[in-house]
């Protein structure tokens, strides 16, 4: 793909991006405490469905991978695996400080402090932890980004796969681990 065609969207892609923006199905990767903020966001107080958002059961069906907590070597492998099972176009949202810089676990030997070294994060939601208002606000931003064709993390991942893979291997030695408990 040339740079030119990469940035230019065809008409059908613009239409498609409109649909994608207003129908955001999420796969939540709830490793940390951040997940506790999702139920209030879903239910009547904030009602994320009014933006066309909703949780989905599997990464195959989802558009957004929402990572709501700190990442260890073990969980990062799973996050990468899940991300790679998602269908294009797909977006990653880092939720809370943990994904940004390791949060309160930043000095643990096992914590992966920066998610965007391993996966293309389209949007971070800062805070420990972010309130539902922050989440709603963030998704509003994400919707706008998608609509404008700016959320292109998935394409970035495709194009710079080697770099991402190098980082992943550097931290994890092995992404698709064979048998990490018994070997």
């Amino acid at each position: 793909m040339t740079t030119n065609s990469k940035d230019m969207r065809k008409t059908w892609e613009k239409i498609a991006d409109y649909f994608r923006a207003h129908s955001i199905w999420m796969k939540w990767y709830c490793t940390g405490c951040g997940a506790i903020e999702m139920p209030p966001t879903m239910t009547s107080r904030f009602d994320m469905e009014q933006l066309g958002m909703g949780p989905m059961a599997t990464p195959r069906q989802a558009d957004v991978l929402l990572i709501t907590g700190y990442l260890s070597a073990k969980t990062l492998r799973r996050v990468i695996y899940s991300y790679e099972q998602m269908q294009d176009p797909k977006y990653v949202v880092g939720f809370g400080s943990c994904t940004l810089n390791g949060g309160i676990y930043f000095d643990s030997y096992a914590t992966m402090t920066r998610l965007d070294h391993y996966l293309p994060v389209d949007l971070y939601i800062a805070g420990c932890m972010p309130r539902p208002e922050a989440i709603m606000n963030a998704f509003d931003t994400l919707i706008k980004m998608i609509e404008k064709g700016e959320a292109k993390g998935w394409r970035h991942y495709q194009e710079n796969h080697d770099w991402y893979r190098k980082n992943q291997l550097h931290s994890l030695k092995e992404v698709y681990v064979k048998d990490e408990f018994h070997e």
Binding site: R77, Y81, Q85, E180
Partner: protein
Amino acid sequence: MTFDILIVLMFLGAVTAYLVSKADLKAGAYATVLFSLGALVLLLLGRGEIGSEFTILFMGFEVTTIGWYFSGVMVLVYAMTAFFNSYWMDKMIYPGSYNFLYLFSLGGTVGLFFAKDLITLFIFWEIVVWSSTFIVPMGKSRRAAVVYYTISTIGSMATLYGIMLLHRISGTLDIQGAFAPLKNDPVLATVIFFIFIMAGLTKIGIFPFHIWLPLAHGSAPHTFSPVLSGGLVKMGAFIAYMSVGILPAYEAFKGSLTVMGIPIQIYALMILGAVSIVLGTLMAIKQDDAKKLIAYSSVANGGYILIGILLMDQLAFAGSMMHLFNHAIASAAAFLAIAVVAHRTGTTKISELGGMIHRMPLTYLTYLIAIISLAGIPPMGGFVSKWLIIQGLADQGLMFMALAAFFGSIGSFLYVFRPLAAVFLGQLAPRHEELASAPLLMKIPMTILMVLILFFGVLPGWILGIIGQIQVAAGIEPVMMSGNSILAVNGVLNTLNVFMVFGFGFLIALVIFMLMQKSRRVGLMDTYTSAEFIYTPELYHYGSAFYAPFERLYARHPSVEDFLMALAYKGHEAGLMVNALFFSHKPGVTVFWITVIVAVVTLGGVGL
């Protein structure tokens, strides 16, 4: 002339096949193909000779439409299955005898349907019984053969009693003449009806005689199971037809108590048919062996056929006659598909297989089309016949039969899907990675059967025409056709339209599918595992206890099989008792008995 040649040819063919097998096993197996195909050709050529009579040795024959139809079904199944024989020659313990018995039993079945008198009928019946009895144990179970033989014989001996009784009453053994005096004697007709139909019930596998089917079909050689299920079971339907059609039961039972217009005698048997449907369905759902599963489905389908035949009306009877054909080819095709799997993998256990579609797509397609027909889903043949049966039941208002029919119908989705999902779909075990697809000679019959199943589902006119003739001959209103529409009193079915609309829907779906972005092909193990890394396909395959929650609901069901086995054991114990009571090594015991007898006779009888 064609038909006596046909019958004699089969028996000569049996001997020929045996002799050829002695020289070359494969050639012997090909001989079975040639002879059974020859029989098919002769049958088709001889269509014009319906109504002729002939004699072989001391046996009289008459060619009737129904006989022609039944033997056509039978020969078709035999001919298609024969293609498989050559692949099992090196696995059989007596390949030559297998070829011999294969054609011998074919000769028996053909002769049976053309019998003019009851003794000829019985002779051929028993020929089929004993020749097939010796094929069954070449497979996986010896006990199966004994159970098969015993159940069959209980039926055929009852029927023999009926034949003798008929002869005593009417003084003739001619099929038409022998039943004549029964019309005016309902009591006698009832007795004969129940006794005579026994052979049919046991052969179809109607509850409580169904226990031999899963045993024999499940463990017979893979090449004989299709014949057993598709072919031989249908002999029972012929006897059932004779009991209602030729007797004629409805006329004889005119004065009896009726349920929904059906004489209670016939209704009682229908209930057995309904029980068979429900039971066959429930048992099929929980089988782990694919062959046993199809065998139990034969029990269920036998129930449909019996109910339809017993109704002797315009719709259900036609449906049942057609179902006979549809079930024969569909069940044969399903068994053949499983035979291919067994040939390649060496097992028929559902839980040990998986992902076969990636190795043998044609076999998968055969099985798919066969089960669509078995489950009665359009546009396959099985749908037309089930539709006719259910419309017939609705016309008569037989609600409990319908209840069973619905249960069997929906239940069949469950059990036919199980091998589809667990044998052909799902994960392919690494040990099966290198499997080859079906050999060419196996593909031929599978393709033919597939085409036939589809063809008669879309254009059932030809076969319904023959069935119409049978109905006219039996003195009932024939099933009505107009163009491609089957006109039932309470509904119309235009199979061609169904097919076309289905094709249209499929086309739209295909267009939608094609218009969208191309998909990326991923491996079978690249599935959503909750992000767990799994590398053992065998364990990552949902194959055993497929319907576990449902199976649990009737896990502790009472079983007539247990009862019959207990009965058999009681017989065994009685034998031991006889032995203990009378056969001592001490002469004193015998002397004692002599004394007892003398005492009894003298005390009781001197005065007489």
